[in-house]
């Protein structure tokens, strides 16, 4: 497993400097680390699409934003991603915890657990899945997409990757 503070360092080193999101237990340590960090700000959002909106405003103001959420919030964000981020070319990194990954989760995560990557494929939003070993590469990949293509990129985080 990858330590949450190390993962936050990887994000910061890549240039991400504004964070907003809705918590998930799989990234609770990441959020705690961000909240304590004095170099960057983490804004707890009331809803996932509000976090995407906050990130868009931060980008307009010159930041490189990152949004954290559970995949249960992905559907909530579809209109923001399609009618704001993708058409205005307003990028952000989406760190999306993957509940229902390969089945074996509580009932409310079954359907979205199966659909999550396809959901992003259907709107042509690039994504990768985080592993304990590919964190640095995956974050750098997301940063390349964001700075070159100016569209959001997502990293799915299954259970057991971050501690």
């Amino acid at each position: 497993m990858l330590r949450s503070d190390e993962f936050v360092m990887v994000l910061k080193n890549a240039g991400y400097d504004f964070f907003a999101g809705v918590p998930c237990s799989l990234i609770s340590e990441v959020i705690l680390t961000l909240e304590k960090d004095r170099d960057v700000s983490y804004v707890p959002a009331v809803r996932e699409d509000v976090a995407v909106g906050l990130a868009a405003g931060a980008y307009l103001g010159g930041k490189t934003p990152c949004v954290l959420m559970q995949n249960s919030g992905l559907g909530q964000c579809l209109n923001a991603l399609t009618s704001l981020n993708l058409i205005y070319k307003i990028p952000c990194l989406l760190i999306v915890t993957w509940r229902g990954y390969k089945g074996g989760d509580t009932p409310e995560h079954e359907v979205m657990g199966k659909a999550s990557p396809r959901l992003l494929d259907s709107i042509n939003l690039p994504h990768k899945t985080l592993t304990p070993k590919n964190a640095e590469k995956a974050v750098m990949w997301s940063h390349r997409i964001i700075s070159k293509n100016k569209v959001p990129a997502a990293l799915f985080v299954p259970k057991g990757v971050l501690k």
Partner: protein, 191 residues
Amino acid sequence: MNMTQAVQIITEHLVDELVIAANGRISREAFSLKDRAGNFYMIGSMGLASAIALGLALNRPERRVVILDGDGNLLMSLGILAQIGTLLPKNLIHIVLDNEVYGSTGNQPTISSHVRLEDVAKSSGYPDVVKVTEQEDLKAALKKYINTSGPSFILAKVKADNMAESLGRVTHSPVEIKERFMGSIMGEKQF
């Protein structure tokens, strides 16, 4: 006062403020009356004008940020009031143009006639809240709040009309809107 008059008055009071305009009628009014680089016309993502403005205000504390919101937009993301009332960015002015209808889809009623939005803002933590119905009161509210420490909330009740159809759409592409807007922020920094 009607929507056009309200947006006209607001436009006249703007100097170098950054404006996030809600989708639909409000963006079209702002665009038609006085297009400016510092206007971000949100053409989709209904409900999120205030979230975008908040993200901008938090990261550009030296700039005044104005939300041109609508009742339909605000009701869609009512939680944003609590978000702003908690974070309390001093440089944010939240103006809600409340005509009690969805103006660009045929004037179907919203539920804002039943909800005291000014009270919701107040209890969410906005230190300054005012409700206006007359042009002179809107002017007075803008004079008072545009240069004072916020966040302030101006609820402007406006009469619904059928002018939305005759208003043109924003002719800039979304990418043009964004690049011009960001350029106006960066340009300002050099001075």
